[in-house]
């Protein structure tokens, strides 16, 4: 299929990280277009028309999120960019910000104008300190050229933009934890309601959007919401940055048009070029570590035998029984030598490590699962541990303050659902389980 690029088209132009080169290649047109001839509401309307869905993982329509923003008189509003990219398997925002920082800045200016924000922040994970410096350099250029600061383009609109680093905490990708962190506190997610659209940063109405979502505002305004909606498939409009990693010949960041087949993405010459070292595909986590894992027979085809596509709908086809989610686009591929139990333990350890510790089900539950999985993986497991895990799972899911509890529970539930035989093998073949891996699991007999 044709593959349009809306974000990374110019990424390979030398010097694109500088204002001049970026500008020469059509940069900052969206700011001119918005400020010169559109009201803020018209900008919001275009984003709504585009059908853009939040690229951070939840997939909530961006235009709708914007329209929820409360606008009380005399109280400032804020736009905050969530650049706390920490979902295992995801590294697309880092790529975008490093290679073409002005795209994010342009998207933020246009979006801030639409939302009536006069101060905006980019909250970036502390590990990306070098990107913070790249962004600050680009921001300084934009100030110099009159795209930031007072009276932008002489249109009477003021905007200040700052970059704020985190300090190493996955949970700060959750928008209310991010706001807490931005206020200089521990990254404990807030209890909702109230939502940030009503009470966000310092108690003021705030919109928090992912880097890629804000960057996508640029082509949406340049080409129009309808034109953007024509790219992609169904309700999955536009393009998506996919971070491909794991056992692939060519891992990396790819911009794909929504609707590309998973088969083509994994094996196509323009994409990942297949599984590394001539191995077979064992499983795939298509949307970052939080989404359910798919066994090899459900990766390229759905349970009903249709081609699986890279879109919100197709990847979720079959629900949690035989589907997964597009999530953040962190596409993790496992070859036949990988151990599912070990990986599930590894992911669970991640969530236990990253739990803020505020609410009891997540604080205690993630740690418990980690210990049970560690036991199973190291040959000290018991057959009843598998059901215990499934039960702890259910007890965490839905009972926590923020979605980290769910994110910790889903991968375990999915792994047990699809790879129960491998878990059982770890119990029955304890010695072997330590020294070798189980290999490919058998395809279930579907009547």
């Amino acid at each position: 299929m044709k593959n349009r690029k809306l974000l990374l088209e110019n990424v390979h132009i030398p010097g694109i990280e500088t204002f001049d080169v970026y500008r020469k290649n059509g940069g900052y047109r969206s700011v001119e277009k918005a400020l010169n001839g559109m009201t803020p509401d018209e900008v919001v309307e275009e984003v709504k028309k585009s059908g853009l869905r939040g690229r951070g993982g939840a997939g909530f329509p961006t235009g709708m999120k914007w329209s929820f923003l409360a606008k009380p008189e005399g109280i400032p509003r804020y736009l905050v960019c969530n650049a706390d990219e920490s979902e295992p398997g995801t590294f697309k925002d880092r790529y975008l910000m490093e290679k073409i920082p002005h795209l994010l800045i342009e998207g933020m200016i246009t979006s801030s104008y639409a939302l009536g924000a006069n101060t905006s922040y980019i909250y970036i994970r502390g590990e990306f300190m070098y990107i913070l410096h790249i962004l600050e350099k680009a921001i300084a250029e934009a100030y110099n050229k009159g795209f930031l600061g007072k009276n932008i383009l002489g249109k009477g609109y003021d905007l200040d933009l700052f970059v704020v680093p985190g300090g190493g905490a996955y949970i700060c990708g959750e928008e209310t934890a991010l706001l807490e962190s931005l206020e200089g506190k521990r990254g404990n997610p807030r209890i909702k309601p109230p939502f940030p659209a009503v009470k966000g940063l310092w108690g003021c109405p705030t919109v928090v959007n992912n880097v890629e979502s804000l960057a996508a505002v640029v082509p949406i305004i340049n080409e129009g919401g309808d034109a953007y909606a024509n790219v992609g498939i169904g309700r999955s409009t536009g393009t998506k940055l996919i971070s491909a990693c794991g056992n692939l010949v060519k891992p990396g960041v790819y911009e794909i048009e929504m609707g590309l087949s998973v088969e083509e993405f994994i094996y196509g010459d323009d994409y990942c070029q297949g599984i590394a070292n001539n191995k077979k595909l064992k499983a795939c986590v298509p949307g970052g570590s939080s989404v359910p894992i798919l066994p090899h027979y459900l990766v390229t085809k759905t349970a009903s035998g249709e081609d699986r596509l890279m879109s919100y709908e197709s990847l979720a086809e079959g629900g949690f029984v035989s589907g997964s989610m597009l999530g953040s686009g962190g596409f993790i591929v496992f070859d036949e030598d990988q151990c599912i139990v070990r990986n599930t333990w590894n992911f669970t350890r991640f969530y236990a490590h990253e739990s803020c510790g505020q609410c009891s089900p997540c604080r205690e539950g993630t740690g418990w699962m980690e210990k049970v999985l560690h036991r199973l993986e190291n040959g000290h497991g018991n057959i009843r541990d598998i059901d215990l895990l499934a039960e702890i799972n259910k007890k965490i899911e839905g009972n926590t303050i923020c979605p980290l509890g769910d994110a910790a529970a889903w991968p375990v539930a999915a792994a047990i659902r699809h790879f129960r035989d491998e878990f059982e093998w770890h119990v029955t073949n304890k010695d072997e389980a330590i020294t070798r891996n189980y290999g490919l699991s058998k395809e279930p007999l579907i009547a």
Binding site: P76, E85, S86, E87, P88, G89, T90, F91, R94, T119, R125, G126, E127, F128, M129, Y130, F162, V164, P165, G166, G167, G168, A169, Y170, S181, L182, E183, G184, K185, R186, G187, W202, S243, A244, C245, G246, N247, P251, G252, V253, V285, S289, G330, I332, F334, Q338, R342, N343, N346, F347, F350, H353, E354, C356
Partner: protein, 177 residues
């Protein structure tokens, strides 16, 4: 809970931050509206750590004073975020990613190799105080795995040979902190 660390004694006594750091503190505070300066804390702690080498109590207390907040508020923040070392560390801190995507392409072996090569365990510091080895969760560089970060620098697509080169480069001062 205290983490197990071989404590490398940072002998230099803390006598306050340098002029440059203090100027940066002031600039960062201006990024936020009046009365909301506490927002500057994380970035200030990064700078404090870079200058001191780790986050000593004295350093944190100084940050508290500058932000006009109580010291416990700084301790609470510093211990929440994993990038901050509230115990002394070596000059170069190798933070190796251990999460799924890195593990799939051999981060375990890299961690083992560094332990062997530097003759320390995860969490430990070499006797000369040069290197500390820590494991961290996902660094957001999964496509270039295995990966480690050392004092804000990413080192990607690691192999044993690359680790050798890296350690030599740090030891000989080719890579500056």
């Amino acid at each position: 809970m205290k983490t197990e660390t071989t404590i490398y004694q940072n002998t230099a006594e803390f006598k306050g931050f340098s002029k440059e750091t203090l100027a940066k503190f002031d600039e960062i505070k201006n990024h936020f509206p009046a009365g909301k300066e506490k927002s500057a804390i994380i970035r200030m702690l990064h700078l404090a750590q870079s200058e001191i080498g780790w986050l000593s109590t004295e350093g944190m207390d100084e940050v508290a004073k500058m932000l006009n907040i109580q010291t416990i508020e700084v301790y609470e923040v510093a211990t929440f975020y994993t990038m901050f070392h509230v115990n002394p560390v070596g000059k170069y801190v190798f933070e190796v990613c251990r999460t799924g995507p890195c593990m799939l392409v051999g981060s375990d072996k890299i961690i083992d190799y560094i332990q062997e090569k530097l003759n320390i365990k995860v969490g430990g510091t070499t006797a000369d105080g040069a290197f500390t080895l820590k494991t961290v969760e996902c660094l957001g560089a999964c496509g270039y795995a295995p990966v480690l970060q050392c004092n804000y620098k990413f080192h990607e697509n690691l192999t044993k040979e690359k680790v050798d080169e890296l350690i030599d480069a740090y030891r000989s001062g080719i890579i500056e902190n």
